[in-house]
Symmetry: C2
Subunit: 222 residues, 2 copies
């Protein structure tokens, strides 16, 4: 399967790109508004993978061209860029493609990090509002620490929660998540359940911040 990581030069995009390229045979495509940056990062990932004996091609393109080439498109961009990124790639999406959203709204104040959803109710809902008709949206990969994900020496042993209203799209993304070693995909229900999943991300940051020895935290439901 071809997976486009829009914003694939950023933290969470890097982690997902490296993990999929390392653990699976899916083709990973890096998207960015700046194609030069996308190509440079893609080469960086290739070098990292090659140093671990994994010689695979990672291509870098504009977000539009990356979307054109892929059937699963991950919006690994900050929440405030979600809407304009979808707008930019809308014409490159076609029937059967799936949009995946890992973004969450976080606000920091003196006390810590807090969930700060957009007026749509969640970033996932924002994506649903902006997505072209007929393109299913799956929320996933919200609660993964980017640094740990991008460090292929780091064991995961954590869960990721999936929400979607389209069962086939959810199953496709579940299999993609399941391909990453140490990551257990769990069903979070429908898209309407996204807010509580997104709210877990600032909580993870607060817990890491307040407890010595706990860094780059993920979560395990048990």
């Amino acid at each position: 399967m071809r997976i486009a990581l829009l914003g694939g030069t950023g933290d969470i995009g890097e982690g997902l790109a490296l993990r999929w390229a390392y653990h699976t045979d899916h083709e990973v495509i890096i998207g960015s508004r700046d194609p030069e940056k996308a190509r440079a990062k893609a080469e960086e990932y290739e070098t990292e993978l090659s140093s671990r004996g994994r010689d695979v091609k990672v291509n870098g393109f504009t977000n539009e061209m990356a979307t054109e080439r892929a059937s699963v498109v991950v919006l690994a961009v900050p929440p405030y860029h979600v809407s304009d990124t979808i707008e930019a790639v809308a014409d490159s999406l076609e029937d059967g493609d799936i949009l995946v959203t890992p973004a969450t709204g976080i606000k920091r104040d003196d006390d810590g990090f807090h969930y700060h959803p957009p007026s749509a109710g969640s970033v996932t809902a924002l994506v649903v509002d902006a997505a072209p008709d007929g393109i299913p949206v799956v929320g996933a990969f919200h609660n993964l620490a980017a640094g740990r994900l991008a460090d292929l020496d780091a064991d995961l042993g954590i869960d990721t929660l999936l929400v979607a209203d389209d069962p086939d799209a959810k199953e496709t993304v579940r299999l993609l998540a399941d391909g990453i070693e140490g990551l257990r995909p769990l069903d979070g229900g429908g898209l309407a359940n996204a807010a509580e999943i997104e709210a877990l991300t600032p909580l993870l940051i607060n817990v890491a911040h307040n407890n010595e020895g706990l860094n780059d935290l993920g979560v395990r439901f048990q």
Copy 2:
């Protein structure tokens, strides 16, 4: 230490009462609006503990009398009874006492369970607003499945998050939590961080509901 469990005849109260009485030497006192019910439940807990070779006294009283006798008072009541319960016991609280709140606001709709905080922003904030001056509030024990907690044969292996603005009160409750085998207390920061912790409870219910084989879920930060 003497711990009063107001609403100690309910699900989460039962679990905490049994665990503290079984794993620690703290004196557990059951509070209820109905003292007969409190006494009956306390006897039930004694019988359960005795069947496991643990012969301890568990007393049942009105919420007011239970509060009078204890230095740590756990509000194990539904969120809509938090304010009137505090009002009822306010005169029984004295300097040095600590209020502990495990309650969270949950709303169910067709999609699943959702976090539905009171207008104060969180149930914890509601407790702070209702608490008498000088009585510190600690948020804790929000994300524990009541049935599993009350089943002394069930291993926990899960975390509980503590929030408080009073470090001494937080440390007292941390030690109480740490006394329960298999429960790891973690610092969630100040009271302002409570909402994201409370929101984890409906998420746990949604995950259990949507994934076969996962029941009575807790969470482990790792």
